[in-house]
């Protein structure tokens, strides 16, 4: 199990290759990668991600533990960046390995739903002439509730 909170860019493909090599005898690996996307009429030009260093790693480790209790998971990797990020850069990734595909898929979705609304990260979007903190989304809260857990 690896949790990395870092300001440096990373390459999700390289991380997947390394994860698969290290994870040993598994049948399934699922990854999710979140990427800075420009959208709308006045598109995002960059992102600033703030986090709560004293809390972040422990909070994410607790989510990983919860996933491992719930599914038969061999290994997990979570990488999340903070600081200044540009369009096309990887914001974060999750990788999960397991014997069978359902465990990896569900554990990865569970981790994403928790990371979205329970890990102490805040995104600020910069557009030409303006900057605004991203609002928490109701759909993310609802996604979390579907797991019906008490984390």
């Amino acid at each position: 199990m690896t949790v990395r909170i870092q300001s440096e860019p990373f390459d999700a493909g390289q991380e997947l290759s390394r994860f698969t090599t290290q994870t040993g005898n598994v049948g399934a690996v699922v990854t999710f990668t979140g990427i800075v996307r420009s959208d709308g009429d006045n598109p995002v030009t960059k992102l600033m991600i703030e986090h709560y260093p004293a809390m972040t790693e422990r909070a994410v480790a607790l989510m990983v533990d919860a996933a491992r209790e719930r599914w038969s998971v061999t290994d997990c990797l979570v990488i999340h960046r903070f600081g200044e990020l540009h369009i096309g850069e990887e914001i974060m990734m999750v990788a999960v390995s397991s014997a069978h595909r359902a465990d990896s898929f569900e554990a990865a979705q569970f981790l994403m739903d928790y990371l979205k609304s329970r890990a102490p990260f805040w995104k600020k979007e910069f557009r030409t002439g303006t900057a605004a903190w991203v609002d928490g989304k109701l759909e993310d809260e609802n996604a979390l509730r579907q797991w019906d857990s008490e984390l």
């Binding site: 979140g34 991600i49 703030e50 986090h51 709560y52 004293a54 809390m55 422990r58 909070a59 999340h80 914001i91 974060m92 994403m112 990371l115 979205k116 609304s117 329970r118 890990a119 102490p120 990260f121 805040w122 995104k123 600020k124 903190w133 991203v134 609002d135 928490g136 989304k137 809260e141």
Partner: protein
Amino acid sequence: MTSNQIDIVYFAWVRERVGHPRERISSRATTVMELIDELRLMGPEYEAAFADIAALRVAVDQQLVTFDAQVGEASEVAFFPPMTGG
């Protein structure tokens, strides 16, 4: 009633409204809600930051809690908007 030294930390727009990321205060609060009442008295920037409690989240000693949670022995309380990671 004795007062307690607590580090208060702020993130995202809560930090911006308060105007600084961290401070140590002397508090007599026993719950988060009482702590917020004390903070609101510290100036208009605090009133602005704590105007809408429903828009805030709180962590006591790095654990997410509800506003009725105890802060008696806490050494750090953090206020911030809903998280938007991932």
